[in-house]
Symmetry: C2
Subunit: 362 residues, 2 copies
């Protein structure tokens, strides 16, 4: 693999310090300001000068230090934004990330992305890290319960946009999905199919989206006059395994639910695995909040309440840049709609008294 030759441990290609504007100016025999003008495409430089400077810059492989420049620039921008997500590795977050990147790239802005793993302290640490790098704006999916710590940052005029979860303690632009309506719609869909024993399986109620989805579920039941049953309310389900265990237990108990509403991606997948392990995937109905790749290729295909993470990311990034371009209107809360996508699992009708593999429609 080593094709470039080496002599006594010293690489054939010497490490050369990076060329500066001064170096380019010296080589071209001009003033440093002329180089600056050429590099930045400022007017008022003769064609001959431009040619001469560009030749020198090319020879030295000069790449201007953007951050050094912005130290003195009047409109001081780092041309970077910070993106704080649950995990860059999560499909929902990754879609937001990509959308943010696309909007930023149009403006020559680079994106720092980082993951909190839902740890409030990490959220703060990341914001501090981005802040000390003087990002022009922040897009944050909150992990902590309180975003008070952002106040100093806000006072400097740095735009902050919250995504997916509403902020607490600060008043900033926010891009959310209508979790309550989506959850209500999902539950109504199951009620319409004839279900009366519908379980709601969700994440920690301290997570705003989880509690809103739960509220939507409860609202739908109440509106339909269907009594709630605490045994059908699962909480604190954070990953696939926890969801699997909770659903498995639920279905093996007395008087199990005939339908499941799972309020989050990973919970949905855990539920599918539990249903399969009991052979109940065609008996017990399932509607999940949040779409996921290949949901349509499952057996049965999975009915979901789809969000549009790309739209969330795009709108959030647009808010950041609007603020940077001078928008001083009061903070806005933008609520994006959800969409119920029926694929099969949510249209299964209730199988009364069936614990496993049983029959008889309601």
């Amino acid at each position: 693999m080593t094709t470039l030759s080496e002599f006594g441990g010293i690489a054939a290609t010497e490490i050369r310090a990076r060329a500066t504007m001064r170096d380019v100016a010296a080589l071209a025999g001009v003033g440093i300001k002329t180089v600056s003008r050429v590099v930045n495409g400022e007017p008022g430089v003769s064609a001959a000068m431009i040619e001469r400077v560009q030749r020198a810059a090319g020879e030295l492989n000069f790449i201007p230090d953007f951050t050094a420049g912005s130290l003195r620039r009047s409109v001081r921008r780092s041309n970077s934004v910070g993106l704080v997500l649950a995990s860059v590795d999560n499909p929902f977050c990754a879609a937001i990330h990509r959308a943010v990147e696309d909007v930023a790239a149009e403006r020559g802005v680079a994106v720092f992305a980082a993951s909190t793993d839902e740890q409030p302290q990490r959220e703060k640490d990341l914001v501090a890290a981005f802040s000390s790098r003087r990002v022009d704006g922040l897009i944050i999916s909150a992990s902590g319960v309180d975003q008070n710590y952002l106040n100093p940052e806000l006072q400097t005029g740095t735009p902050v946009v919250m995504v997916d979860r509403p902020p607490v303690g600060i008043d900033v632009d926010t891009v959310l999905v209508d979790n309550l309506a989506g959850a209500k719609g999902a539950t109504n869909h199951l009620l319409r199919a004839g279900h009366r024993r519908i379980a709601c399986l969700g994440d920690l109620p301290t997570i705003a989206t989880a509690s809103q989805r739960r509220a939507g579920y409860l609202r739908a039941l109440a509106d339909a006059g269907v009594p709630t049953d605490d045994r059908l309310l699962g909480e604190g389900l954070h990953d696939i395994d926890a969801a699997f265990r909770a659903v498995h237990r639920l279905l093996c108990e007395e008087d199990p639910p005939t339908a499941l509403f799972t309020s989050q991606n990973l919970v949905t997948i855990g539920a599918i695995r539990a249903l399969r392990s009991l052979g109940l995937q065609h008996e017990v109905a399932l509607v999940g909040f949040d779409d996921f790749p290949l949901a349509d290729l499952m057996d049965p295909a999975v009915t979901v309440v789809a969000q549009d993470p790309t739209a969330i990311g795009r709108v959030a990034a647009e808010r950041v840049f609007a603020r940077l371009e001078g928008d001083t209107a009061p903070p806005r809360q933008i609520v994006l709609p959800t969409q119920l996508i029926t694929r099969g699992s949510g249209e299964i009708r209730p199988h009364h008294g069936a614990t496993r593999g049983a029959a008889a429609d309601g």
Copy 2:
């Protein structure tokens, strides 16, 4: 949503310029260097001074400008790295991203991530953008055919590590997967199940991984003395739709394959959709290169050659930091193994002469 009051369009909370070390020094009534020492935890400051400076810094919400500092620092680091991927939104890339982030975070290093969409020009533009922000290192999954453009960057001593695809024109640390062995293993697996007409469906042969996987497929056939058939070689399949169409056509032609080797994630999914649309998912065997979420929940579950993107990202990041910490050994090529995960689709035995829904085992 607007809870903070406004007066005549002027926010109640005035925008205050960010505090500088000088401001803190003035408020604390000390020299600027003392502030620097306290902020950076340097020794040789009395407890009383530390207390006084910290109070002033807190009062002004002082956050040091890291980039300004590194301008003068002897070991000049931005404490950031650039990550250039096909798309941050792709599960394989996102897993690499997360692993890089984790290694970087341990060192207080932030990650710029960006997507090329396989466009060579974008690859160059992104490297230039990161370069002008003086990233300490670069991790790149090549989209272009040639990485010569990185030479100036390399001359400055910036560590560059290539991931997933080998570099052309430069000699740097590289983290790859054993594509040839993996593809050969997948093909052998199908041969062992009795298949003789095995199609190979891949991406553009200009993509190194695609051509290596194809080579592995051909090698396996040659070793087994099975003649190749050009009609069974699909190329240039970039997305799910293209793969769907190619596989659909292939299976509807005369003398269709009894097994498929798909050399990439999206191609595998396109193939699954095509098989399903023809009702052949239980007749035609399938082994895909690259694992994907829920592959085990498909019907049939999908046999794959799994890569470990987390390991790729981790190892790549570790190489970058090893170089930054002074490792001057010749560039290394690190080849990570693949793993055949049998789940069902790859163990289907050949159904001779079957075009759709037919029977009779071989």
